[in-house]
Symmetry: C2
Subunit: 161 residues, 2 copies
């Protein structure tokens, strides 16, 4: 079974940038975007992926991901996905035996920065880096899919990390 267990956090300050070694550019849109699940098209630098996700239950959801030709992904983003697309730089940071992803959004979500960690079980423990702020895993406003309909630049209330 394909399972994704993920926790997501705001960032307290910018010191994570000193730890970040590599990053990729991501551009993604949603062919389906509902509480029951999403179908996502994502371009990561020069590769592309189609991802099916089921409904989130606690920190967990079914997830299936397949590589697809980048020309198909580009066309689906242009012609089948509602705008704005979600665009971000993803930085990778090794800390305490885990790889953290820090997403620095651009475009319609400029200013938003989120950190994510993928776990092997819901009760797996981890040591949060000093720059980690409040957990937002269960707050639907921070789902990437939500940022299409409610992009960060239009939020009336900005989060306190």
């Amino acid at each position: 079974m394909a399972i994704e267990i993920e926790r997501k956090f705001l960032l307290r300050h910018d010191t994570w940038q000193q730890q970040a070694k590599t990053h990729v550019a991501m551009r993604q849109g949603y062919i389906k975007n509902s509480v029951e699940g999403v179908v996502r098209v994502r371009i990561v630098d020069t590769a592309a992926f189609l991802t099916i996700k089921g409904q989130t239950c606690s920190f967990t959801r079914l997830e299936y991901e397949y590589p697809i030709p980048i020309a198909d992904a580009q066309e689906m983003l242009d012609r089948l996905c509602p705008k704005p697309l979600v665009e971000k730089q993803r930085f990778f940071i090794d800390h305490g035996g885990f790889t953290w992803c820090v997403d620095q959004f651009t475009g319609a979500n400029m200013g938003l920065v989120l950190a994510e960690i993928e776990l092997e079980s819901e009760d797996q423990t981890f040591e949060p880096p000093a720059w980690i702020g409040r957990e937002v895993t269960k707050d639907p406003r921070y789902y990437n899919a939500s940022l299409v309909n409610h992009p960060y630049l239009e939020w009336k209330v900005r989060p306190v990390p």
Copy 2:
């Protein structure tokens, strides 16, 4: 660009069966199912495919299809697709330089039989076999995706071919 141009017909009588040489079993469900497009999971005998289709315009729609592991397809059909699934035997018939597909539905759509032909352009001509009946390409009741929410066994009015 990935384009599907397809025309669909009812069948006048059963003489198509004499022409049918090969067939496959198909079982499919829909992760997305709306007028804007569908995301379909299909198992064909022992292979499986994920298919993205855009909105239909005249006889034409965008279509992208990718092979996926059969275990993933089985799990998506079980856990992510509304029921009933669409089940059918697809027969292949060579006629007038084209390969016709005749779909004989089973399960919740038992009794429905449809013939399809795939074209290279909307104005491409073809010679219909003698057993071809009324065209239903633009009738949404006959979309396979519609047969999930309105299966043939529940139809109050049966079509006249």
